[in-house]
Amino acid sequence: MVEQKSIHEPGAQLLSAQDAIQDAERLQGLLLRNRQRAEREVQLRVPFTVIIEAVDQLEADELRLLAQRLEERLADKQR
């Protein structure tokens, strides 16, 4: 048997289109924040040999950046 449907609060004043547009902006923001919250960071243990091997794949600019970073780190260690 098909259920008879009736109207809920037919006299109630409903939201405007502008409200609906603001709802969508608010909801989109909430969905994004909740998705980002789920993307937590995890730590990985990478063997040192893998890092050395990775250096072989770097381009000149990247190697210069790495060299600069290594010099800074070395200077820190020698202090």
Partner: protein
């Protein structure tokens, strides 16, 4: 109780938006964005009274009904009074606002702090915002579905028209403006 997937946003719903969801056959669409819709006891009774019992049964775990604690019931009665006597309310009978008031009370639970309350009625929306709840109407959810590529602007319009044809009082102007916003013409 439903297990929450990481990053998932759930909804707590008043009776009106859920009727619109059923009228437009949008439950699968809405639960793609908001996997579980939580409802309080009075909304469950109202949905059954309005003839949506079978739809509720076929929804399975997509809709979860909750009983309220005594403190939440009392909070809901206070909220129902606020809604009934709000200048935007057209119905001063407190008991007639218990459904939306219970939905608001349910939405204040700590486990729903990052979720959204679905409510279309203006006075209840104002009270919910005063309580700091994040709210959206059914049309807002459809707009997000369009933004996320789950629905076209034309399909959004058809769904709102379907609700209107079945008695939900979305005006023609309302539907047209929401449709234009969905198309990016606002």
């Amino acid at each position: 109780m439903a297990i929450r997937e990481p990053g998932a946003t759930h909804a707590i719903s008043d009776t009106g938006p859920l009727i619109s969801i059923f009228q437009s056959d949008s439950l699968d669409l809405v639960t793609t964005l908001l996997p579980v819709i939580h409802i309080p006891p009075v909304c469950l009774e109202e949905l059954i009274r309005h003839g949506w019992g079978e739809s509720l049964q076929s929804a399975g775990s997509q809709i979860e009904s909750h009983s309220l604690t005594q403190a939440e019931k009392e909070m809901a009665r206070t909220i129902a009074r606020q809604i009934a006597f709000h200048p935007l309310s057209r119905d001063p009978v407190v008991d007639n606002h218990l459904g939306e008031a219970q939905a608001l009370a349910l939405a204040t639970r700590p486990e729903f702090v990052n979720d959204v309350l679905l409510v279309d009625e203006l006075a209840a929306r104002v009270v919910a915002e005063q309580m700091g709840l994040t709210i959206s109407g059914f049309a807002g959810v459809l707009l997000v579905a369009v933004q996320e590529g789950l629905l076209t602007a034309n399909e959004l319009k058809e769904r709102l028209e379907t609700c209107r044809q079945q008695g939900t009082h979305y005006s023609e102007a309302f539907i047209e403006q929401v449709y234009l916003a969905a198309k990016g013409d606002r």
